[in-house]
Symmetry: C2
Subunit: 314 residues, 2 copies
């Protein structure tokens, strides 16, 4: 069982990732921290609590995290993608449970001591909470087994600028701190998350499941599919956050995932928010670069969407 601190801005695809984590046999979800991004940090925490309690996971604590980015301003501007409430305008059954008193970064720091050496971090929103934790305690990486992140665009266009993906681009200053810290990172950029799609057949499999969280996620994705129809030319969606979750759970395999030097553009220039992955010299065969601590997942070797459905509806 992998001990997990899960940081998210839940979020339509975050909801799918959460449903997957809850159903995964090898995941011990110790706590969830919320962050602004797809919705506000408060709303993300509410959505997470609603989904957890809908599934009966009433013992998993949720901590509210950073309400704003370090330099950019959170402006709740992706309601056209995730709905006004972050979960595709679906009214989930509302739990009376509330977030814990500690904030997300303190939850992460506490868990890093309680599970020193065995705690894995899964971060699928802006990296604001993780950066705050690193600034509070720079020794944090020494107690973390691994960090898995959804973010960036290595060799494909970005989604909030020509080169910037939302999680990195919303808070480049935080992302730079996180990617420069000395912990082993696996990152799933748009290269792999846009290449994998969740289709109507997969969504219907969730809707027809007996798992109430799966059913809710199937409903939530309806709105998300509307947005992605423009991108793909059919009703489906990218598989952003769930790929990071499946990598963390070791449920999927990859065939192109070199360790490479990675940095973040936190200038105010036209490349602001770009996750710069140095993939030079890989033409004769993908290989790890000496000293690099970030594994950049460029291609999966399996049917990710079917894997998600199989685990969630098992």
């Amino acid at each position: 069982m992998k001990n997990i601190y899960f940081d998210c801005d839940l979020g339509a695809d975050d909801a799918l990732a959460l449903a997957y984590l809850l159903a995964s046999p090898n995941i011990n979800l110790l706590g969830v921290g919320s962050v602004c991004g797809n919705t506000s940090a408060d709303q993300a925490a509410k959505n997470t609590l609603d989904l957890l309690d809908l599934g009966g996971y009433t013992n998993i604590p949720v901590a509210v995290g950073e309400q704003d980015f370090r330099v950019n301003t959170f402006d709740d501007s992706v309601k056209h993608i995730h709905g006004d409430n972050g979960v595709g305008n679906i009214e989930l059954p509302h739990t009376s449970r509330t977030p814990v008193k500690e904030d997300a970064k303190d939850m992460l720091l506490r868990l890093s001591h309680e599970y020193a050496g065995t705690l894995h971090v899964l971060a699928i929103g802006p990296l604001t909470n993780l950066a705050a934790a690193l600034e509070s305690d720079p020794t944090l990486p020494s107690r973390i087994a691994s960090v898995t992140i959804m973010g960036g665009a290595a060799m494909v266009p970005g989604n909030i600028s020509a080169v910037a993906e939302a999680n990195i681009g919303n808070d480049p200053e935080a992302a730079r701190i996180v990617f420069e810290a000395s912990w082993p990172i696996t990152v799933a950029p748009l290269d792999v998350t846009m290449a994998n799609t969740f289709e109507e057949e997969h969504r219907h499999a969730l809707l027809h499941s007996t798992n109430p969280v799966a059913q809710a996620v199937g409903q939530i994705l309806d709105f998300y599919f509307d947005f992605y129809t423009t991108e793909y030319g059919r009703r489906c969606s990218a598989v952003h956050d769930p790929i990071a979750a499946a990598l963390c759970a070791e449920g999927i395999t990859t065939d192109i995932a070199p360790c490479a030097p990675v940095t973040v553009d936190d200038t105010q220039g036209p490349g602001r928010g770009q996750l710069i992955c140095d993939l030079r010299g890989q033409r004769v065969g993908w290989h790890d670069i000496d000293g690099a601590h970030v594994r950049v997942v460029l291609h999966t070797a399996c049917d990710v969407a079917q894997h998600l459905v199989d685990v969630i509806t098992a």
Copy 2:
């Protein structure tokens, strides 16, 4: 016949491009400007004069251009790629002809008046001369029919940094001026120039030609192939500059070449020198973006190397 001002830092692959232009039936090469890059501006002018006169083109004038970049310093650091003299350490027969008195930017400006509306610019080195001409006379674009450039890396790694290609990255300030000017640009980035290779069979076809310029270029490329062996795992080279020349001469066809918004990162950040091509929203089919004036050539629909050989050895 297309009237051409040709700006180059000759250069092993520049030599191949020049041999192609001289042999092209539809090119009227009015003048050549040299710029620092693959070698110094003085050496590039010498190499160009030697090749021109070797082929009997003693009436084509060569003007020396900018000796240094706008902010970066020219440091003649690619001798391992292009040889100490820019032409693979081959001793070309040296002509006694010397560059004209006017500098490259003045040649470009003069030609733009003499051939107003019909002058095409082909630039395969850093864009320092073109930027200088634009600053001298901002009305220049109104007299230019088209600009074709080799430079940038749209969705592949750079070659002087993770994201920067040498022509743009050596002088980002100049490149930004050139790409922001209101003239129609066609740019061949590493995406297409690295995907096309010049093989030993092509080089041998040049060596065995009766064209003395072709023979010289076949010899020059030997050293260049040594460098690219590491990149490709076999003796061959990329086809950087000749692709821009062939696009300018309309000798090759493309199948992916959308007009897209393009800018240059001229910050001092980690993305410095990147040609940022906004290729978002092209998943449902490559298409031109309204208002964009830069055509980004991503894929050729023909055998470029064979076309070069066919034209040069005809």
